[in-house]
């Protein structure tokens, strides 16, 4: 079995079998990071360019470690969005890098659809490391991997996702993936941060965090950004935390063995109470650890993806 596309642009384009292939493969690659010599020669001679138009430490590091542990060479390019607007276009930047024959572009960009756009002009495999508010497929994959590792069969899980639903690419990818694997998904956030049409994605939508969390196996908190407050999506971080912060009390509504997830970085005391973030039910560090294995699996499988296969 192989992936149908040589790109990973979004969960949208993957079917259930492909998602499971990636998760199974990641389980095999996870062992490599436990070795003393954390390197296998699988992608020797391949070049991975990480092209980040947005600041990121975690995702970029995770991709670079994944590539390096597979013996690929990595090159990092960071450009702030503003200088791009002034200077070279994305298309020109990619064409120039393309001339140096990389095998992969790992792309992070503040504009939705940027990874898709690059895939139309590049011979390399494109991995979307987050495009605007659209998708962040490897995050959803590592979240699913962590859920499967901790809770087993995803189709039997009730997952609550809380916070800034409107602007989150993590939530879009997670909803698509969890629905494809048959999970029961409940989302909650202030009415101002719930975009229209979410119900058409097969999730239940509420503004009451308690309703969403009740009986959940997994409680996933999203990052809230200060700038949303400046645009009046909510009055203050304090009030946001009052209604949507995860507290011990609210966590009691979930199943007694429920796990807490967060894509990071956390605003402690806003999305999650200080103590909860570090409790044994929090799997936030597992998520980070699993990110490397999942990204190794993605890089490996894309090298064998159908070269003619394009995202539809």
């Amino acid at each position: 079995m192989q992936l149908k596309s040589r790109h990973l642009l979004g969960i949208e384009h993957l079917d259930k079998a492909e998602i499971e292939l990636i998760l199974d493969t990641a389980a095999s690659f996870k062992e490599v990071s436990t070795r003393e010599i954390k390197k296998v020669p699988t992608l020797r001679g391949k070049t991975v360019v990480t092209l980040f138009y947005e600041v990121s430490t975690r995702t970029r590091t995770s991709f670079e470690l994944a590539a390096k542990r597979l013996s690929a060479d990595t090159v990092s390019i960071s450009t702030s969005t503003s200088s791009v607007q002034k200077g070279e276009t994305l298309v020109d930047t990619v064409r120039n890098l393309e001339a140096m024959k990389p095998d992969y572009f790992v792309v992070r960009h503040s504009c939705s659809g940027a990874a898709l756009m690059i895939s139309r002009i590049s011979q390399a495999s494109i991995v979307n490391a987050g495009d605007g508010s659209h998708e962040h497929p490897t995050q959803a994959l590592l979240d699913a991997f962590t859920m499967r590792e901790r809770k087993g069969d995803i189709s039997k899980l009730r997952v609550a996702i809380i916070g800034d639903i409107r602007h989150s690419r993590v939530v879009r990818s997670n909803i698509l993936l969890l629905r494809k694997l048959g999970a029961d998904v409940h989302i909650a956030g202030p009415a101002t941060l719930l975009p229209p049409g979410m119900d058409r994605l097969g999730v239940t939508v509420t503004s009451d965090i308690g309703v969403a969390i009740r009986n959940a196996d997994v409680v996933m908190m999203l990052r809230i950004q200060q700038e949303r407050m400046d645009k009046s999506f909510f009055p203050s971080l304090r009030e946001f935390a009052m209604y949507y912060g995860l507290t011990r009390e609210r966590m009691r509504l979930a199943k007694s063995d429920a796990i807490i997830m967060h894509p990071g970085p956390i605003n402690r005391g806003v999305e999650i109470d200080h103590e909860l973030a570090d409790c044994d039910r929090s799997v936030i560090l597992d998520q980070t650890e699993n990110g490397v294995a999942v990204r190794m699996a993605v890089l490996y499988l894309l090298a064998g993806g159908n070269p003619a296969g394009e995202a539809s």
């Binding site: 994305l90 298309v91 898709l116 756009m117 659209h134 229209p196 049409g197 979410m198 994605l201």
Partner: protein
Amino acid sequence: MRILIKNGRVVDPSQELDDTRDILIADGKIARVEPAIVDSEARVVQAVGQIVAPGFIDLHTHLREPGREDKETIASGCEDAAAGGFTSICCMPNTNPVNDSRSVTEFILARARQGGIVNVFPIGAVTKGSAGDHLAEIGDMHEGGCVAISDDGKPVKNALIMRRALEYASMFSMPVIDHCEDSNLADGGVMHEGYYSTLLGLRGIPAMAEETMVQRDIIIAAATGGHVHIAHISTAGSVAAVRDGKKRGVRVTCEVTPHHFSLTDKEVVSYETAMKMNPPLRGESDVQAIHAAIKDGTIDCIATDHAPHTYDDKNVEFDYAPFGIVGLETAVSLALDRLVNTGLISVLRLVALFSTHPARILGLKNKGTLRIGADADITFLNPQKKIAIDAERFRSKSRNSPFHGWKLKGSPAGVIVGGKIIWHD
């Protein structure tokens, strides 16, 4: 020099005429419209199987001259319009410099006389620099040849300025054309707010951003007695407001673009920047409401909002791409295929939407009609001709069309402008 158009199906809503007639043109005017005219000296144009209509008028064209002649010039825009079946185009003032003074108006008309093969009617700015603060010299621009005023590209944000503009422009019998969009509600959006904007993670422009301003304009028009024309109407709520305003006798008219009756926001899933325009492609229910409003007469005319952009300008991230698409060469075929062939409206109504009503809105007495003595502007249509749209062959300098590759039935078959045959199939 006389021209005799033989055996065409003559469609003229101004006379409720839809029948086989011959038309004799003499000295640039309509001389006779009768069955079986004989004139041995006239040049004969055979129009068997064709519709012969008063020349089509595009109320909403962006020619980029002066300022961005790489996107479009007055000459190239005129050629494109002629190829698309238009005999007159009204150019919006958002050039560089903005057409906010008589000197710019006269520059445009001078360029049009030099190289324009169709009639060009400039639209002046409502406010200086279209900045929204102070009225432009509306009277002087009117003297110079402007037929309407608009700050198109932007709304007239300030309600007081809108009031003054409607009051002032009514002295010159000019409509105020408003791009209705509350920019606070639009909030930097790039597509229609709905399920697809959620799915695609693109910032949405809600329908209410348009509708609140349409409502505001109708209220102000009702109070002042001025004539407000709503540009590129696109939502169910907007057409309901216009329908209601008309019922109450408010002087409100509106136009719709071909893309707003042909496409929905679902098209944006490709992230193709040719699907990015303002107002954005709307949802399915909005498009249905637009169709109903075309059918019941709430919508007065079809206008292209022809907005040429270079390939490079559009070949960027969806968020960064400029709004707008070209439309002059696709409008007539889309209307025939989507509105007439589907049985939504008659050919008579189609001609009213493209010719009679735009002329009436602008107060152009000798256009939009085939009455004796009217300007000899003629649009020929071939309702049977099947075409495939090829953006590479547009006469425009730009190619930014979402309709490239579309196969449609019905096409323009020629134009006569001021008694001069520009082309005929």
